[in-house]
Subunit: 192 residues, 2 copies
Amino acid sequence: MDTSEPRTRIVATADELYNAKGIQAVGMDELRAAAGVSLKRLYQEFPSKSSIVMAVLERRHASWTEGLDATVRQAATPRERLLAIFDYLAAWFCEDSFRGCGFINSFAELGAISPEVAEYARKHKESFQNYVGHLAREAGAPAYLAPQLSILAEGAQTTAAIAGTPDAARQARAAAEVLIDAALGVEDPDGT
Amino acid sequence: MDTSEPRTRIVATADELYNAKGIQAVGMDELRAAAGVSLKRLYQEFPSKSSIVMAVLERRHASWTEGLDATVRQAATPRERLLAIFDYLAAWFCEDSFRGCGFINSFAELGAISPEVAEYARKHKESFQNYVGHLAREAGAPAYLAPQLSILAEGAQTTAAIAGTPDAARQARAAAEVLIDAALGVEDPDGT
DNA sequence: CGAGCGGGAGAACGATCGTTCTCACTTGGC
DNA sequence: GCCAAGTGAGAACGATCGTTCTCCCGCTCG
């Protein structure tokens, strides 16, 4: 990422600040100072705060999609690719900056008063569910598996954020194994 | 609930407004008007907005706990009691006023800047997990089942809120059945 | 009956927000 | 060297927020 470009630096800084403090708690002046730009340049790059919020959401979506896919691609089998989702979550939960899913948070904060934000959060989650559906189909699983794993992943994110521990990733992964094996019709996955 | 009491009416009204618009989006004057009290009375009952927020969280916790337990108690068997959690969610998601879990939302909105709110949300989720743990123990399930079902319930709440549909309750219930039967060592729950 | 007090309506206050404006300064082209 | 255009720093503006204060009405109690 080219943080020498003011626009990129603004969005990256806004992402960090919004994640750390919440969107409404971060004023334009604080963002201006943290990004090291003048207020004039800020409004030259973005017409309003809400347009910065949308740019941050786009950045988060790209970051999430690319990071998840990179982890998934390292897995060898279709089953392991489904489980890799939860390995990605586990690594994410352990980051110091982790404070829950940015889309859930922004939806909770602004979804009721900003249709833009609500719609973008909906599309992001839909995109994730489609991605899981794609992985599940490749594993030969019935259609009901993808929503189940998606719900597990969502729950792990909120649980880890509120509890402040990364345990939920491991617990969700164990549940996912059971659900995957049941959906794939594995009678005895342990071979016992 | 005695809504003739100003204090009760204030908290009930704040609960509705905060749920519908978010906490930060509802000012004290809007709350005053909706609750039908004077500003003087409002500050006579509560010293500050944050104390109202905490009172709303307490009300939500009581409402959630009682409503959930009432539904659970109607189920006959330990297994059905665990599944009743998701029936309770299903009924909740179908309400027009449903806009996600109030604790997840308040944590997302204020958790980063209000330790009080963050801590109360953590305690609420912990209390729910303990409740599920209690039900799981009565069903004779191993300890790992309760976190799995809790994560499913959390994920169903955020998924239903963002997607705007109650489907997640049904999907989570189906997943819960698989997890419960696996944890209870049921080899073939359908008898096929 | 009348003085005092509690409560309602809403103005006022200081802080903060998003946004715009001012102004001095730099810089690049001729 | 000089003028014009653009930039940065920050003051200013209007709106809104949480909170407090003022004023006035109506009720109570001696």
